[in-house]
Amino acid sequence: MEVINWKGIVEALLFAAGDEGLSLKQLTSVLEMAELQTKEVLQDLKEYYEENESGLQLVEIADVYQLATKKEHSDYIKKLVESSGSGGLSQASLETLAIIAYKQPITRTEIEEIRGVKTDRPLQTLISKALVKEIGRAEGAGRAYLFGTTKEFLDYFGLKTLKELPALGASTEENFEQGEADLFFEKFQETLE
């Protein structure tokens, strides 16, 4: 009989889920086992990290599990952030910039919905580098700031106008736009039938 490496599977799942983590429920349903068993596997993983020279740890907050780096290594991570701060834009900043470029005007909340993570920092970086600026306020209760790209953005990427941005392919567009309207329409049709 083949032994299934549940611990490894859970590690892989949590890793891929990133900062969002996974709830006990989600894990249980993916693993197709009882919650109690899932908890046991999680406990195993936790101990594995503690006993080994791993740089990771398992964190549990309100039944949501996520992987994180061990506190004792934070000095090195700090160094990493400082050393990469000087040149270039981080992946996070580039993602944010792309979203703003293609979907402006857009609020921070909307950007975060697309990225699935907090975006204060990258946004701050982009503003400080003058690639992005506030271009107005959204309507509605919050009156959130709307962001857009600047003239410097165009200059920097050698574009005359925003229209010169490469068109996103249909499949990209689809992922990006969520296809909400279509789904809506489909469901409506179903109810009509």
Partner: protein, 255 residues
Amino acid sequence: MAYNIKIDAFEGPMDLLLHLINRLEIDIYDIPMAEITEQYLSYIHTMKHLELDVASEYLVMAASLLAIKSKMLVPKHEEERLYDEEGIEYEEDPRDELVEKLIEYKKYKLAAHELKMLEEDRSLMFMKPPSDLGEFAKEAEMNHPNLNVSLYDMLGALQKLLRRKKLQKPMYTKVTRQEVSIEKRMDQIMADLQAIKGRKSFFELFLEPEKEQIVITFLAILELVKLNEIFLEQEQNFAEIFVATKDGVRKVGSD
């Protein structure tokens, strides 16, 4: 849409030719021009017959196949004879250019196949988004654009994000896919409202951030309103919307 079924099976005349060569088990270095031309033309006729839009490239290829075929029928004249470095006579084959092109194309078709396998293999690996390291960073660096990134870096980042995002969707989809029907959702909403015996914020009904779930909930609400099972209240424009049941309504779907 029917006429769109399409030549999609083939990536162009070269691809079609390779297919024919393969199917007829022909040696690519010794193509029987009459046979292949006939087959090729019949294929094109079929496409036309099916009212498929035959791209001009296919017709151009048809013409050159016919040209090669006729060249091969013409006997050689003395002055056209060719000799290699050692003075040995050899024939220039009218098919040479075509064969060369086919072999070249085939090479890349195979390479495309290899890429496809790499693509599949790569899709088995999942990466993690970079952690938010804001807490470690000092104040935003004010150094001006000497960023050393290009438009393509930005597009690349976007693609990475989109690839990754597919994964971040919470599990609800899978669960709800197994059909939380509108009827069921209507029941849930009713049960929910009856339990609190008061009104509930419209938005609180949309707790699961999954688009399918949102759509179903929305349709369920519309349906309930239509059936006069629930009321929607809003005190003024842009104010919060509330949902409430009538008192003592029967449960939807219970009859």
